[in-house]
Structure formats: C-alpha cells, structure tokens
Symmetry: C2
Subunit: 113 residues, 2 copies
DNA sequence: CGAAACTATGTCCGCGACGGATATATGTCA
DNA sequence: TGACATATATCCGTCGCGGACATAGTTTCG
C-alpha cells in the first residue's frame, strides 16, 4: 500500500506497547498479547527482527536503564519510544480510527462483542 | 503476527470498500482512496494480486452482474463480498477497534485531527 | 534436590504480500 | 487529435512475517 508508508501491524503493536513505558523484548511480547486481549501473539522472529529494523529507523532506542541486578534479570535489554516513533504511532492510529469510523457509518460494528 | 491470521491492510481495505456494494477493480481502488481520505493509495499490483488471492480464499467472488453494455463499460469485472468475507472483515474490525480503544486509554489520540 | 516450566534474547530462512513498472486498450472531453 | 482518465492484468525485486531452532538463566513445586 502507499500513502505515507503505513506501519506494519507488528511495528504498530510494538510502538503501542512502548507508549506507556520502557520495556524489554519479552515484556513487549507480553504487553502486545495483553493489549490485544490475547488475540495477537508475536513470535521471537517477528519481535526481534522488528526491534532491529525499528531501531535502525529511529522509531525506538535502546535504553540505558540499569536497575539493580539483584532486582532485575540482567539479560534484559530495555527499549523506549523516540519522538519519531511517537509521531509515527500517532499518524497510524489516526488511520486506524478512520477505518473504525467508516465501519461505524456502515453499521459493520455491533455495539457489543 | 499470529492469532487468527490477521488480514493484511490491503485485504481489509478491499473488504471495507465492498461492504457497501459490489464494485469493479478500478472502483475498489477509488473507494479505498476515498474511505481513507486519500491517504491510502493502492497500485494495480496490490489490487489485482489481492483480488486474485481473496477470490481463491473465498472472501470475495466475481459477480454475474451484467448491466446494459451501453450504460456500463464492458471491460468491468464486478466483485462482491461473501459471507466468509463479511465475517473476516468483522473480526478484523474488532481488532482495529481494540487498538483504538487502547490508544484512547493512553491518551494517544487527541480529540480533533 | 531435581525436573519442568517460564523468562529472555537471538539467528536462520522459506514463504508470500506488497507495489512500482510496464503493457494494452477503451472512454471522455476540449 | 491530443491528452488524460478509465480499466484490467502481469512481472518481479524487495522485504516483512513468523515458525523452528539455539542457548541459557530463573522460578516453582513436588
């Protein structure tokens, strides 16, 4: 698709997961699952591949967060959303909202469920 | 991504365009553009490739609609959404709505714009 | 204690969607 | 007649997806 380069679903979900706070890879995976009520599950291939591409694109950055090793698994690598990432997220969310709005107009979304 | 095989953005937009009425390829292209306020533009590669895959998957079907050739371009091939297509669309729309809801909770979507 | 399950990060690679370029031809309008 | 929009269709390079696999520390519980 064209336009202003739409974000892939994987990228959108990761940005959404990082919008509230910094998280490490595995934490992102779990947050995506909870944000989507368990409907979206992200495997390691998608997760770490996306993280690499997003870091290269400047949407997220590795955090220098260092918590007391006794209280936090040392293997963890934390990531945070950048200003550019926030902007990309906002743009994509507007696109999502537009789709939902059109769906509403056509009565494609029953109130409940 | 996993879950119940998420629809690609292209497929979602095409289903949305066909949700109101049957349309031919080029008409779908224009409707997608208008539904998205010009933000999503679908090239012929994506359009006809998606139409083929969606027909094979039973999400849409070629319509037998035959309008008076004098009043309608004979080259046109009309497509309609199937019951399966409607179901897939509804499922995906719920996923979209969920994303928008989460975004709202985190105040990521200013009222206007 | 020991086994199992969970946490955590990462690579590899085949599959398939995307989407621009290209081709062809008709319709419309000035 | 020339230009542009309509309309369908194929080709193919690029790239994201995502399961499988690898590795290893941590927690839990009988």
């Amino acid at each position: 698709m064209a336009g202003t380069k739409a974000l892939t679903p994987a990228v959108l979900h990761i940005l959404l997961a990082l919008s509230a706070q910094e998280r490490h890879g595995y934490g992102i995976m779990k947050q995506v699952e909870s944000d989507s009520q368990g409907k979206v599950r992200m495997g390691p291939g998608t997760l770490y591949g996306s993280i690499r591409r997003m870091t290269e694109a400047g949407l997220i950055r590795e955090s220098d967060r260092k918590i007391d090793p006794h209280l936090d698994d040392e293997r963890r690598v934390y990531y945070g959303i950048t200003a550019r990432g926030q902007q990309a997220l906002a743009t994509e969310l507007r696109r999502y909202r537009q789709v939902v709005a059109v769906a509403h107009e056509r009565s494609l979304l029953p109130e409940g469920a």
